[in-house]
């Protein structure tokens, strides 16, 4: 653990950026341009800061998720690139091309939220593949950064939790940078996976935050005084009223949450007998 900073520079870091490109960006064209240029500049800085660093960018809007970089149709070109600068301008080109393609294929405008969770799932398997291709001896330092602009409708909770707990198991931190309004769901994700959560007030502050907070690798973060993350709300919503509760009754068969005792589980149809008090295992001191 202590020596990771040395290996960091040798092995590099795989950064997977999950980029929200919700159509709401289109409402302010100037802002959208600043947003995309900032992220591209940040991606370039990551690649430029170490020859061993690696990058992937997956975009998500309300209709789909999509790999922006790497792009397999450009693999041949990439193999011939030897200069770092040449690579960077190549990355810029691919990002803009693919973003344009993505915007064109999704013309229908709806109000629904971006499918960040789909991109997150793809990012997990991407990191896992790169790690296994690199072999067992070399552990690449991977992390995911989610940049979100759209507001959150709170759907897909279960899918988010599945992604978070998988990332936690992979010891893969997921950083969350939200622009505009707070997002409790992403805040939980950063807390569960050991990543950072930070809210940026407006797009023009984004670059500064990315540089100060999300650029440093995991080791140097421990030495930085980062803003406190505040407390995370881990209460559950009951199945009956969808209200948040801090104590509840759960069905012993399917774990559905009820705010009051009910005679029948509406999820799995289990009939309940009398409620059992929580029973402590008998303490048999004489045997131990």
């Amino acid at each position: 653990m202590a020596s990771t900073s040395a290996s960091d520079s040798e092995e590099g870091c795989l950064l997977v950026i999950i980029l929200d490109v919700h159509p709401c960006l289109a409402s302010n064209e100037g802002e959208a341009e600043v947003y995309l240029n900032t992220v591209t500049a940040f991606a370039n800085l990551h690649l430029a800061s170490s020859g061993a660093n690696r990058l992937a960018i997956i975009a998500a809007n309300h209709a789909q998720s999509c790999y922006l970089y790497p792009d397999q149709s450009h693999e041949e070109v990439e193999r011939q690139i030897d200069g770092r600068l040449e690579l960077l301008s190549h990355v810029d080109k691919i990002l803009h091309e693919n973003l344009k393609k993505m915007m064109v294929t999704t013309t229908i405008f709806t109000q629904s939220e971006s499918l960040i969770v789909g991109a997150l799932g793809r990012a997990l398997t991407y990191v896992r593949r790169i790690e296994s291709e690199d072999g067992l001896n070399k552990k690449i330092n991977a992390r995911i950064l989610v940049i979100k602009v759209s507001t959150d409708a709170g759907g897909q909770y279960l899918n988010y939790v599945n992604m978070y707990l998988t990332a936690q198991k992979m010891r893969l931190p997921v950083d969350m940078c939200v622009i505009g309004s707070d997002c409790g769901l992403l805040q939980q994700g950063a807390d569960i996976t050991g990543g950072l959560y930070y809210k940026v007030n407006s797009v023009d502050k984004l670059m500064q935050s990315l540089m100060m907070i999300f650029m440093p690798n995991l080791d140097s973060r421990r030495r930085l005084a980062l803003p406190p993350s505040g407390s995370v709300d881990y209460r559950a919503a009951c199945f009956c009223h969808r209200s948040l509760v801090d104590m509840a009754h759960v069905c012993s068969n399917c774990l559905s949450v009820y705010c009051k005792a009910v005679p029948l589980c509406s999820t799995c149809n289990a009939l309940f007998g009398m409620e059992m008090p929580i029973r402590k295992p008998p303490k048999k001191k004489k045997n131990d």
Partner: protein, 402 residues
């Protein structure tokens, strides 16, 4: 009072591989010069895993509130070095991974540890949903030397004494990690087996060495499983399979269980001692979780409140179990030539026309194509399909549970 029981050895000796010269099935499989097993064995294990995932019936009712005793053979047979570094240390390091994972995936379940050596059995860790306590026990067991003979009967009696008093809605399970080829029991094991069956306890055995008749009988009678491992990777695989709850026995009643969702403490709270590290030198700090009923403080969840007995869990951990209610549907295995995809939808791996990618996997809901590794990983660990959750139409009707 304890006489060696040779019963395990004297029936049908021909049936057992270890007697006919193969101590282990896998010794028939050649190692190459560098000591690596041929890829075929890894492939075999992965294939078997996919088959098991397919077999796991989605609609089966699961007794999710589990009470599991892991019985570890600590007899001299565990000193063998066919698993690295020894069977003893190999097993314990797998348990080290198994325990936190078990509590994470089974948030309201409890685990306990029993060891058997010198013809006796002893409980080392009481049933609880406190992974920390079990991990400390595992650490202690690493120091303990393996000696004498094990006793299956004594082990089962210890587990029985604790499991039989549990409320009727719980799933009662025993998992035995067994290396010896015999068991040294004080009396008729059939009598114990009858009691175990009456108490509705499911006994499974993971064998480290060979198939033993008595283990076969016990697992068959109690509807458990009995498998012998091929190597250390396989052993881990077999033990980790017990993370999934078994199909619920029909005799299980259901009930409502009271749980608490503790608040994570905010920074302006008063510093407090946590209940989990009272025995070490505790430090006063403000980080942690408060029991909503009695305000005792804990560093990690899940936990069982030591003061008021409330089960403390978080919403994400409960939600983790909902995959049993909304399982990820199986993908269809198709030929790569039948699909137009050039790469795996999820990990973006380019498919090559070589053996490894000849078959690819298609999600029946979103129709996206996945590679073999992603198919296993998504069904085994993630439980969500990245294709479905990237699809606005499917994702709106899918897994929207809070």
């Amino acid at each position: 009072m304890m006489q060696p029981d040779v019963e395990a050895m004297d029936e049908d000796p021909k049936e057992y591989r270890w007697e006919s010269g193969y101590e282990k099935t896998w010794e028939a499989i050649k190692e190459d010069e560098s000591g690596f097993l041929e890829p075929s064995i890894t492939e075999m294990i992965m294939r078997a895993k996919r088959r098991r995932l397919l077999e796991r019936e989605a609609s089966v009712r699961l007794g999710i509130m589990r009470h599991l005793y892991v019985i570890v053979d600590m007899s001299q047979a565990m000193n063998e070095q066919d698993l690295k570094p020894t069977r003893h240390l190999c097993c314990l390091s797998i348990l080290n991974d198994f325990i936190p994972e078990f509590h994470e995936q089974n948030p309201i379940s409890q685990l306990g540890l029993i060891i058997t050596q010198n013809k006796t059995a002893k409980k080392y860790s009481n049933l609880s949903n406190n992974p920390q306590r079990h991990l400390e026990t595992v650490k202690k067991l690493k120091e303990l030397s393996c000696r004498g003979e094990p006793s299956i009967q004594n082990s089962l009696e210890v587990a029985l004494a604790s499991l039989k008093h549990l409320p009727p809605h719980t799933s009662r399970e025993v998992l035995i990690l067994y290396a010896a080829l015999t068991t040294c029991d004080p009396g008729e094991i059939e009598a114990t087996l009858t009691k175990v069956k009456e108490a509705n306890i499911r006994v499974s055995v993971v064998g480290l060495a060979a198939e033993i008749r008595i283990c076969k009988t016990i697992t068959k009678e109690t509807e458990g499983t009995f498998v012998v491992c091929l190597n250390d990777v396989h052993l881990k695989e077999l033990i980790m399979e017990h993370l999934e709850p078994p199909p619920a026995s029909k005799k299980i009643d259901h009930t409502l269980i009271k749980v608490g969702f503790p608040h994570q403490i905010n920074t302006d709270a008063k510093p407090a001692l946590c209940m989990c590290h009272l025995e070490d030198l505790p430090s006063l700090n403000t980080e942690g979780y408060y029991c909503p009923q009695c305000s005792a403080k804990y560093c990690d969840l899940p936990a069982e409140c030591k003061v008021c007995g409330l089960m403390l869990v978080t919403a994400p951990h409960l939600a983790r179990s909902y995959r049993h209610l909304f399982p990820l549907q199986h993908f269809t295995e198709i030929l790569l030539s039948q699909s137009s995809s050039k790469s795996c939808y999820s990990c973006y791996k380019m498919f090559k026309e070589i053996y490894a990618d000849k078959n690819v996997f298609q999600c029946p809901k979103c129709n996206q194509i996945f590679c073999f590794d992603c198919d296993i990983f998504l069904h085994d660990s993630v439980h969500s399909c990245p294709g479905c959750v990237s699809n606005p139409v499917i994702s709106q009707n899918y897994g929207n549970v809070e």
